[in-house]
Symmetry: C2
């Protein structure tokens, strides 16, 4: 099997946040396939490459296209932001390649996930156990999403919310905050990063009770602290532990 598709997570987008491996694969690929927004980000940095883009939500078509192009003899890089392995293209790519019974090797190339980028901007909010939850109910029952929010809140996880809001989902974030406040103080620190790691990045701090009033949209990652999280010098910090053993 010498046909190969690399499923590359490129992090927030700028080359500096890509791994050496991701940069090398993009530079050497015959063809870069991705959602238009992502290929546009890469075109600006790798202008001499050949690109094929498909619209958002056409993931299965995009994967079929990648397989077809690989079978024609192209080394394909299927690209997406963040980590291709966390809410990324790795799974659907494996599923489609299998469905097509294509003799193509699928290699996942991990990247920096959005929670990591957002955390690095805010300070150090992810120093303890963490739940990543997407508030998009496009493919997940809303009841299950809120059950996860409640479970994570009840067990004092730091909670990082992906896809926190869209035009169709205006009140999910407020509902999530209400659920978390059943278990956590309303003054619990919350960090919001819009376009994390991108030129127009914006980051700010708020609290659980104020979260509903914040201008959050689909380009934001929201990080809710655990019971120990605090703000100092405008940085959001979750301590490593619960002070059982002092060092």
């Amino acid at each position: 099997m010498d046909k190969i598709i690399y499923v590359v997570g490129f992090g927030p987008g700028d080359k500096q946040f890509m791994t050496m491996q991701a940069v090398e694969i993009i530079e050497q690929a015959d063809l870069i396939v991705g959602y238009t927004t992502y290929t546009d980000i890469l075109k600006a940095q790798f202008p001499d490459k050949k690109y094929l883009s498909t619209p958002m939500r056409k993931e299965t078509d995009r994967c079929r296209l990648a397989v077809e192009k690989a079978l024609e003899g192209n080394t394909v890089a299927m690209v997406s932001s963040g980590d291709s392995g966390i809410y990324g293209m790795a799974g659907i790519m494996l599923e489609i390649a299998d469905e097509m019974q294509a003799n193509v090797e699928i290699v996942t190339v991990p990247g920096i996930t959005a929670a990591s980028t957002a955390a690095s901007v805010l300070g150090a909010p992810l120093m303890h156990d963490l739940s990543l939850i997407s508030l998009s109910d496009l493919m997940t029952p809303l009841e299950l999403i809120f059950r996860r929010v409640e479970a994570a809140a009840s067990a004092d996880f730091v909670i990082s919310l992906y896809n926190p809001k869209s035009r169709k989902r205006v009140d999910y974030l407020e509902k999530a905050a209400d659920i978390i406040m059943k278990y956590r103080d309303k003054g619990t620190p919350v960090g919001i990063v819009r376009n994390a790691g991108r030129p127009d990045q914006k980051a700010w701090l708020t609290t659980l009770s104020e979260l509903k009033n914040e201008p959050v949209d689909m380009f934001c990652v929201v990080i809710v602290g655990n019971s120990q999280t605090y703000i100092k010098n405008n940085r959001m910090i979750t301590p490593r532990g619960y002070k059982i053993n002092e060092q």
Copy 2:
């Protein structure tokens, strides 16, 4: 403020998995500070740099050393594996710099966290909501750790276990598996990766009920699938959704 400490996550260790930014900072730093195992990994790849290492569990001493060296005028890179922002050095570094009232800027440089690397090896197990839980009770009450395992299990999170076992904690992993099996089928796929992304990497698949018999140690990451996770062609795959809307 021109004194600066970069808190750099270098992923599994090999340069190919570091971000361009991490490589550049390491190459340009006056001094690289870290736990001995980590500085040894970097020395092999950046042999001309100046290193200072301290033993494991001396994190606060290491941070004070970094601050002192920065105040002397050195640009310092405080290094650790994975993402410096997830169970990493970013938080303690901010805390110590604040405690010392040091006029030093702390910049977090994110890296690929162990769950991302392990997932890329196993297939695509992290395509849906995820909990990261450390089974180390060095600084966290064991009761809280198991409460988190139970909460994550009850709400069908994919669960990635860090520090799954050590010589002192021989039965925590088995207890965690027992808790998860209260909510999830005993045949639920589990992926184990030892030394993910390193030359002696080893990865294999098992099930929840068999997990207790696996040779897991502190160099492993354990990923427990959710109710939808399956194995196909020896790859562990968690589907993106719950098939509400077919595409």
